[in-house]
């Protein structure tokens, strides 16, 4: 999926989508945003969004306009991140979060105290960054995937314009929406939508593919009723206008 070069960057995160708005007059930026919303309404429907507006100064009416615009596409605005103090104040007035929730990051490994005799300090086996929460590894480029290293539980949602890999289960009641592919290294029992921006080449695969509902682009499928035999890894894709699930075999 190639994202248009319009200054808008969309990322997935645990809290919902983070949309970075580029420079320019506010009403123009908003109309660019609307173009994006119109282009892929499926992807945005039901999303929670925070806007990252940089150093820009905004008044209450500006933010209300953004919120109303998003609401028309069934998108909830929950946060407004700005470097500008007045804009932060406006966010607070409107009950929006002005910063991303702080996550406790494990302290970087303390450097070994320099011994009196200089010997090579032992290298940590893993770089400290590998312990950071998954969302920290999201690249700015939406083509790069999002890796969620946890189980998604009922009511939790993961949304990303690129591909999503879940290292854990997707429980019933949870939802994963990706512009690209969805890979679940675990049991997939919730609802997933791959290729949500219209890419019907997208695939969904899971170690145990038993989703409540599976969508690829505009196609929708349900899991067959009844108890399944021993679960095997499967991949779902669109073939001849319908979603089919095949067992995952190396040919």
């Amino acid at each position: 999926m190639k994202s248009p070069d319009d200054g808008i960057i969309i990322k997935g995160s645990r809290e919902g989508l983070l949309i970075t708005l580029g420079p320019g007059a506010w009403h123009i930026v908003l109309s660019t945003l609307e173009t994006r919303l119109t282009a892929t309404p499926d992807f945005f429907k039901g999303a929670r969004v925070a806007l990252l507006v940089g150093p820009r100064k905004l008044v209450e009416a500006d933010v209300r306009a953004a919120r109303d615009l998003l609401a028309r596409y069934d998108v909830v605005l929950w946060g407004l991140m700005s470097d500008d103090e007045e804009t932060q104040h406006v966010a607070a007035v409107l009950g929006l979060d002005a910063q991303l929730p702080q996550r406790e990051r494990p302290e970087p490994r303390p450097q070994p105290v320099e011994p009196a005799i200089s010997i090579e300090p032992p290298q940590p086996i893993e770089p400290a960054t590998s312990h950071e929460p998954i969302e920290a590894s999201i690249a700015d480029d939406p083509e790069i995937g999002l890796v969620a290293r946890r189980t998604l539980r009922s009511g939790q949602q993961l949304r990303h314009p690129g591909s999503i890999a879940v290292l854990g289960d997707v429980n019933p009641g949870a939802e994963v929406v990706a512009g690209g592919d969805i890979i679940v290294w675990g049991k997939l029992r919730g609802t997933v939508h791959a290729g949500a921006m219209g890419n019907d080449n997208a695939i969904v695969c899971a170690l145990n593919l038993a989703p409540t509902q599976l969508r690829i682009a505009q196609y929708i499928a349900r899991s067959p009723e009844g108890r399944r035999r021993k679960p095997t890894p499967e991949v779902a894709r669109v073939r001849n206008g319908q979603i089919v699930a095949e067992s995952w075999e190396v040919k």
Binding site: L152, R153, S154, G155, Q156, D169, P172, G173, R189
Partner: protein, 271 residues
Amino acid sequence: MPARVITVTSGKGGVGKTTTTANVSVALALLGKRVACLDADIGLRNLDVVLGLENRIIYDVVDVIEGRCHLHQALIKDKRLSELYLLPASQKRDKSAVRPEDLIKLCNDLKPEFDFVLIDSAAGIEEGFRTAVAPADEVVIVTNPEVSAVRDADRVVGLIEAAEKGPARLIVNRLKPGLVQRGDMLDTSDVLDILAIDLIGIVPEDEGVLISTNRGNPAAFDEKSKAGQSFRNIARRLSGEDVPFETFKEQSGLFGRFSRMLRRDSSHRSG
């Protein structure tokens, strides 16, 4: 050592939160622990009824928070166990009368004098739930072996994780061994398969619990009650003992076989 604050919650209503809170509190007190149980379901007070202490209420938790009485005036001593106390909810007010920080302060005041503080939470995932979870050191989730209750429990497990109160532990309540054996009810393993959290107890369906609840005399007092035994085992596990999980299958094995035989007979007859 200051008390451990344990919040009992579920998401879905009617799964047996209050009954569990009452019985586990009683069972802990029977082990000689000093226990305070706190009804945080403001406006829908009923922990006092289940414990049979309703007629002793003079002050409630809202009175304490709003400074109309001292904490010790509101604590009701159990009529059977000298180490069990109840802090009842208010019946006249609603959830907005108690803020999370109020409950945290209250628990901090209770901690030095008790071994356990058990909080009975409101159903749902709104204000009442958040308030009840705020002071918790540990969370116990009660669910029934049915799809809707497990779905709600899963939602709550996620919220507990997000609030960094986890990992929550699970009580599967009202399991019907006969139904499970016939494949008509989720088994404990099915529930754990979805929720993937530690189990701390399985309580079988037991009419005796209903009767004892109505009488205000929790089943945990009853030596002969199966459910009461399960609640006592939960209390021992909470106090750090390693108690193996009950297998209700064996006990109901004969009965199950018998009832299957009957069913087969009747189906022969009707067929």
